[in-house]
Amino acid sequence: MKQQKRRTALIAVLALAMACMMGMLALTGCGSSSKSGLKLVNDGKLTVISDCDYPPFIQLNGDKPEGFEYDLCEAIASKMGLQVNYLEPQKFDTIITTIKSGGKADIGVSSFTINEERAKEIAFTDSYFDSNQGVVALKSSGYTSAADLADKKVAAQSGTTGQTWAEENIPGVQMVPLDAATDCFEALQSGQVEGIVLDLPTAKSVIMQSFPDADVIQEVPTGEQYGIVVSKDNTALKDAINKALGEMKSDGTYQKIMDKYADYFG
């Protein structure tokens, strides 16, 4: 009796495993080709993945993403004759891996600075934004520059260029890498860390929106550029996006989107 039961269980487990594998094959195997000749996860849709927690570039309003990058993606997609489909937010430091492994989303748009380390894993489109870093501290702290944060605890979003900058430029810094930009501000306000290093437009935006007792104590001119993350295997998509971006820059669509968020970028 017992033996038989176990055997049925075993068969059930095996069948389940087979089903899972078949499912995975189906997902990765047949990336559908749309009419435009592009390899997309969902035909007719530009599937975007983002952490959706980085104002003013991207944030959730209820469950709908909005912000500079959302507008940008919509404009790019409409140039390409596609619809934008934002997936559920995903942690920042997992997005590149997701795009690299493929099958889930076409592009990752989450304020990724184009850099060599990332370019080894995935491909970047042309840049769509010039950014800088900002060092943030509480107004009451009396800190005036990043140098004041030496040997102190500093938060940054895990895997960001802000984290790298802080590790490289603040002597003896104790990094506290957190999941989201807003977590960093909560940690700052609760006194867990003395400072934050993050992208300047986001720093300004978050301070303006919800953390008025913090301030940007140093603007770090890094001149880094954001790019859209595309799988290295999908050069056609990268080229199509670059073409759309180029058109948007020349016909004024891009400038219109920039102007909409000028308050944060100034």
Partner: protein, 502 residues
């Protein structure tokens, strides 16, 4: 020295000095000239203005795999030189010398120029020779620009030491001046791990292995080698958290279990609320409340201490239930027997009941320990540096899953032997029981989960009647601290109740 010679050159070329020629003519121009010359002197006194191109900083990115923050020699890294172009100056070329021992074979350059916070388009041509970098700017870099040279894939001397970059720059007049020495970059000698990683990088089998998407993402040999030592400290910290947290949870849990079985309604109520609230909410939520809530109230606690506290509080609620079930599984006859011998309530509890309970709850407690150890990983979300956090930071840097696999190994090192131990103990208990449950104990339950263990705790309660027999049955066999007390009570209980010995 260099500064003063530059100052002269600067004065000669600015064209402001001739203003002094008009000094004699009118008093207004006199004043103006004095103002200008004062301004000039003031400008010269500002140290940054002394150079046509000031070195602001020179840093190297840490190339230590894992959690370290050191710059290692002999392994490619990125060096960032940052400087500002002085007033009335334009830079047309730069030359940077590297100390001997640097390897520039693979090196390449990325130039960024900024005016304030805005990028400037600067085109440049660069070339690396054996020991130096030469950059020519197609359009001269204007004054007031922040210039950043990112030298990628530069290997610093393998023997370590301080590295200082020197060099020259050329201005629009074609004049070449010396560059300020860069601040020293301290380079650390390559560790054994890094040397193995370097060897693996070049190994053919390793390249073939990594070319497979699955193997390269989940089991990259280089990252396995580098993760093991760097995760080790995370592992120790995770162990520390749970080895302090769990023993703390035991007395708290025991206290609450007494409250729960107490006849006082208030005490019972408090314990029930405590246990239900903590068992009814996710540990993750409790961590967030503690880590973000307490500091907002002005309570500042060290992250590790707070982490230990949250784990202890969480675990105490589960332990409370385990202990309660354990205590209540001891047959009533034992209590009655002890009382009939004139023992007080606390004497009964600590000398008779608890020693018997210990043996029964150990398997369940061990399962709870395993669970707590695994759950300590949740603390990584709030910045407590433990095993999971170490793995996460390496994964964030490399975009590879291998560190998580190594972390899984570190968790299993602890949990697998404990799971085995739980099984062994349970088998022994079951065999000792000699009752119907021994069947279940003898079949090999390799994949014993906590739920199963918990169920057995519940079963203890249900099996009270059998257990009554068991206690007497195991009398002769048990040789622990419990043995004495149990024997004592069992004798007594012959008088107290007919159930104990049969």
């Amino acid at each position: 020295m260099i500064a003063s010679s530059y100052r002269e050159a600067h004065v000669g070329t600015t064209g402001r000095i001739p203003a002094g020629g008009r000094v004699r003519k009118t008093s207004t121009s006199h004043r103006l000239a004095r103002f200008f010359s004062l301004l000039l002197v003031a400008m010269l006194c500002i140290p940054t203005a002394a150079f046509g191109l000031t070195t602001n900083s020179t840093t190297a990115r840490s190339n230590e795999t894992g959690s370290g923050n050191a710059v290692l020699g002999g392994i490619p890294t990125r060096i960032t030189w940052e400087g500002s172009v002085g007033a009335d100056e334009q830079i047309t070329a730069m030359h940077i010398d590297f100390p001997s021992g640097c390897d520039l074979d693979e090196a390449y350059l990325k130039v960024t120029a900024l005016e304030g916070l805005n990028r400037l388009e600067v085109t440049s041509e660069s070339s690396f020779s054996d020991k130096a970098l030469d950059v020519t700017f197609t359009t001269p870099v204007p004054s007031g620009t922040t210039l950043r040279l990112e030298m990628q894939a530069v290997s610093l001397p393998a023997h370590g030491g301080d590295v200082v970059l020197t060099g020259t720059y050329t201005d629009q007049q074609g004049q070449t001046s010396a560059l300020q020495d860069s601040p020293a970059i301290s380079v650390v000698q390559v560790t054994t791990t890094e040397r193995i990683v370097g060897a693996l990088d070049n190994a053919e089998w390793c390249k073939a292995w990594n070319s497979n998407k699955f193997l390269g993402t989940f089991l990259k040999p280089q990252l396995i080698v580098s993760s093991i030592p760097s995760l080790f400290f995370g592992w120790l910290r995770a162990l520390m958290l749970v080895f302090i947290g769990f023993p703390l949870a035991i007395p708290i849990g025991l206290g609450f279990s007494f409250m729960k079985i107490s006849h006082s309604r208030i005490l019972h109520f408090i314990a029930a609320v405590y246990v239900n609230v903590i068992r009814g909410t996710p540990l993750f939520l409790q961590i967030y409340i503690a880590f973000f809530g307490l500091p907002l109230m002005g309570i500042q606690i060290n992250n590790y201490v707070l982490g230990v506290c949250v784990l202890a509080i969480n675990s105490s609620a589960y332990l409370c239930e385990i202990f309660r079930a354990g205590i209540q599984s001891i047959p009533k006859g034992q209590f009655e027997a002890a009382w009939s011998l004139g023992m007080s309530k606390s004497q009964t509890m600590f000398n008779v009941i608890i020693p018997q309970t210990v043996r029964r709850v150990i398997p369940t407690m061990t399962s709870e320990f395993i669970l707590l150890y695994k759950d300590s990983s949740l603390l990584s979300a709030v910045g407590v540096m433990e095993l999971m956090m170490f793995a996460k930071s390496i994964t964030a840097n490399t975009g590879n899953i291998t560190p998580y696999i190594v972390a899984a190994g570190y968790y299993l090192i602890v949990t697998l032997p404990l799971i085995r131990l739980v099984n062994k103990v349970e088998q022994r208990v079951a065999r000792g029981d000699g009752s119907a449950s021994s069947n279940a104990g003898d079949t090999r339950k390799r994949r014993k989960t906590k739920r199963a263990a918990k169920q057995s705790a519940m079963a203890m309660q249900a099996e009270t009647a059998q257990v009554g027999l068991v206690t007497s049955g195991s009398l002769s066999g048990s040789a622990g601290a419990a043995g004495h007390a149990v024997g004592f009570v069992a004798q007594g209980s012959t008088k107290g109740g007919p159930r104990a010995l049969s």
